[in-house]
């Protein structure tokens, strides 16, 4: 459960707390790679976690990122700014959910599914469709188009 608080006159801060109230993406980021490590522990049991950590940090660099931002810049309605001020938050909702936020979420989802994959898909719906949902480098597609 995420509680959006609106104190402070319009500068809403999205809130989450621990103890079972956060989403998976938050948890992965919160706990992976963190915490006390003492050599007495057997950590052989965590298959896949190291890979997941790396996976979650991959952000498609360079050309793909540049093209994504070029596209976002192109989409700005520079001429409608005078009258459109009030519509901005609504507009922004759409951009945020399909843009950067969505992308990050996708990478983390995909990474989480990677764990399922490595574990042999012990959870029935964790194993499905994972290939389709994995982020793909877009450069390749583009080169074919050209």
């Amino acid at each position: 459960m995420t509680v959006a608080s609106q104190r402070g006159g319009g500068g809403g801060v999205e809130r989450y707390t621990g103890g079972g109230s956060s989403g998976l993406a938050e948890i992965v980021e919160m706990i992976l790679d963190k915490g006390l490590v003492i050599d007495v522990f057997v950590r052989v049991s965590v298959v896949g976690i190291e890979i997941l950590t790396i996976d979650a940090r991959i952000v498609v660099a360079s050309v793909d990122t540049f093209l994504r931002f070029a596209e976002a810049t192109n989409r700005l309605d520079l001429y409608g700014k005078g009258k459109g001020g009030k519509d901005l938050p609504e507009l922004m909702e759409g951009v945020m959910s399909s843009g950067a936020k969505g992308k990050t979420g996708g990478v983390i989802d995909a990474a989480a599914e990677k764990v399922g994959e490595l574990l042999g898909g012990s959870n029935d719906d964790d194993g499905d469709d994972r290939a389709r949902r994995r982020p793909r480098p877009r450069e390749r597609t583009r080169e074919r188009e050209r």
Binding site: S5, G8, G11, V13, E14, R15, T17, G18, G20, L24, E26, I27, V28, M30, I31, L32, K34, G35, L36, V37, I38, D39, V40, F41, V42, R43, S45, V46, V47, G48, I49, V59, T65, F66, L67, R68, F69, A70, T73, N74, L76, L78, K81, L88, P89, M92, V95, G99, A100, K101, T104, A112, V115, G116, L118, L119, S122, N123, D126, R146
Partner: protein, 243 residues
């Protein structure tokens, strides 16, 4: 020989919430040694750990206890034989672990993220940079493949501006919140639109003040930056790995 999952360490007089359950629904127990205690449960041995539920269970146990007490979170997936909880984990490290726990005592972690609102910040960038504005005009109505190089260049310039902006503004926001924290860590984010991603260690009695400061930052950002505040949490980012 019983595999035991260890969630975290706390003081021996801490009582976890009733009916707290861990990995695979196993009840969480407290194993004490001297002043210290380990939060543990039976660990599954027939399968490797790492599912969504395992991650959620780990965090739930640590933060449920951390709500009212200081907890040193263990790295996810820390498993040891039952007798080893005292003999290998607690007893030989009592002094060292006790010292780490007392450094963090009475403090909680907050994680603060600030994400630029794309529409607003990109507009600022286009309006303040002639080269970007000109390129943007040039490519916006052309078929993508005809102006491929220009599009790459436009994106590169925009990302460069974002990087410059986020480092400058992120540092200011980080400094402001650091003033209320006893320790702060900048976590590196590769996302050019992420202005702030920092973890703060905050004394419990300053928690409300800290939360208010984040609210204030958000309202001052006038819709440019979206803030997310996580916490109070166990001090995940302030527990160093030790050999």
């Amino acid at each position: 020989m019983t595999a035991t999952y260890v969630y975290g360490l706390t003081y021996a007089d801490v009582t976890p919430p009733n009916d707290l359950i861990g990995v695979d629904g196993a009840p969480v127990e407290v194993v004490t040694c001297g002043d210290l205690a380990a939060l543990v449960s039976a660990a599954p041995t027939e399968r490797p750990l790492g599912t969504r539920d395992d991650l959620l269970s780990h965090e739930r146990v640590v933060d449920a206890v951390a709500r009212t007490a200081t907890v040193l979170p263990m790295r996810f997936g820390s498993v040891i034989e039952r007798f080893g909880v005292v003999d290998e984990l607690l007893a030989p490290h009592l002094e060292e672990l006790g010292a780490t726990l007392s450094e963090l005592d009475g403090q909680v972690q907050y994680t603060v993220k600030g994400q630029y609102v794309r529409e607003v910040v990109l507009r600022e960038i286009v309006e303040s940079d002639q080269e970007i504005a000109a390129l943007n005009d040039k490519v916006r109505d052309e078929p993508e493949e005809r102006v491929y190089q220009e599009r790459v260049r436009l994106g590169e310039l925009v990302v460069g501006e974002l990087e410059e902006l986020r480092h400058r503004e992120g540092a200011v926001a980080h400094e402001r919140l650091s003033a209320l924290a006893s320790s702060a860590i900048v976590r590196s984010s590769p996302d050019p639109e992420q202005m702030l991603d920092s973890a703060f260690l905050v004394p419990r009695q300053r928690a409300a003040e800290f939360e208010d400061a984040v609210e204030r930052l958000a309202s001052e950002s006038t819709g440019r930056v979206r803030y997310r505040l996580g916490g109070p949490l166990a001090p995940y980012d302030f527990v160093a790995a030790r050999e």
